[in-house]
Subunit: 153 residues, 4 copies
């Protein structure tokens, strides 16, 4: 599947009195990675996906992260983001933050494709990830490839 | 073990364009809960623990969270924080965020007691959680004291 | 005019590698003060004001702040917020953050009452502050009452 | 004087329930601009300036900002940062955020060069901006140029 890579300078404002990244800031950077990944795949900004698909957001339902090596302000790191699996209305994202070649932070997200729903309590409900979005990540191709492979065998 | 409870108003600045809490903000609130829990147990602010024990911080090594019900700005919620286990130099914290009686978010942290170490690369190293801190959460000594009190009576 | 006072603990996550509050965090606390001030005056949460008055927000157009004394994590401070003047569609807010009796930070905001406007570019436009909101802060009516009281004496 | 320009994508996490940038986030981006400006001038990261000059930070003493045009998530903007004046131990920074050619936000900062001081209450004190830093922004060159110009006339 598609991978989005982004270089990032750790900033003063990312860090805490111990001089290292205050962990909630990592999640904001990872969130930016997820959004950029969708833009790379679909060619649409999140705000345009919202318009086109009447989507409100892709809120988190589950997250796990391991913090292996701390980073300090001034450090240059790289984040690799990719979707590892699509379910019906949810999907799995993995982010890996590298310092040089070393894996420093790893994060696994489960998110839900969410649309406006005036009928429900919070005004939001989950919905099927649009086929066009799913395919933009290489879904269709893969299936086609799998099917071809089957035919060949 | 000791529990720390805190009422919290979800603020405009906690929320995203979908009108619900932007998930990294939850972690900042949980972090505040962990710090408050230590203060409740030891009677020491984090900054005074830093002075007293030459501790630099209690950075995260592992985190997991489930987001069950979204919250909107203006919502009043309650966070319950407690340490569920002490290891040698690390410990487990659980946070539960309730909307009324409903569990809305649950978070599990593994953190490490960290001290200054000029010798090491990042200037930081893990260290044994001080006996006094561990005991403040209801460890051995308190029980002993209770038992002695019982014997005396 | 009405004053809103709030005690605040400076948290680890508010602070930077110098161990003092990272200045943008002050503004988030002041914003919370402005919202709380409106709730105290009108009895309505911001989200309910949004519903009732078809208001989208009260964005900032001008801000000034002086940082007089730094605060460190663990410090207990108090914020006093009040509206100093209403204009037609905008208003002035003053926040003062005290450490004990000392003024540590002072901030002056000009904000605009903003409503949805599908016709305009950004989908937003300024609008007159509703009479009911203005009066809730002790505007005309209250003064009249005061004047009547004077006459009677 | 030296100018630092940086393109910036407005992210989902920068924005509030009105869908526009939550104003304290602008200040974090401007702070990043100030730090980058020093690095461009001196060739030193902030963390290396801290080491080299025993500097702790460049905290804000005064800030003013005008918010002229709101920005929404997905917007691409550009920030121009420059020091407009050096005083003895403080200096003035101006940031301008442009959407296309339009000035959207303008911010004026006064900051102080701050060093560790164990004797003082907060452990911090202001100090003269090191000559080498000042010159890196074109101080020396400019003086030299002025002197040459004088000779020529």
């Amino acid at each position: 599947m598609l991978v989005y890579r982004r270089k990032l300078r750790i900033e003063w404002g990312d860090c805490d009195p111990a001089g290292i990244v205050y962990f909630p800031r990592y999640f904001q950077h990872f969130d930016t990675g997820t959004v950029a990944l969708f833009e790379k795949a679909t060619g649409l900004k999140k705000i345009d996906m919202a318009d086109k698909f009447e989507m409100v957001g892709i809120p988190m339902v589950n997250i796990r992260a391991r913090f292996i090596i701390p980073s300090r302000y001034g450090d240059d790191v790289e984040i690799e983001s990719q979707i590892t699996e699509f379910h019906r209305s949810s999907f799995e994202v993995r982010h890996q933050l590298f310092r040089g070649k070393e894996l420093a932070v790893e994060c696994f997200e489960t998110r839900v494709w969410t649309v406006r729903d005036e009928a429900s309590a919070g005004g939001l409900k989950s919905a099927e990830v649009p086929e066009r979005v799913r395919e933009a990540f290489g879904g269709k191709e893969k299936k086609t490839a799998a099917r071809s492979a089957k035919k060949k065998s």
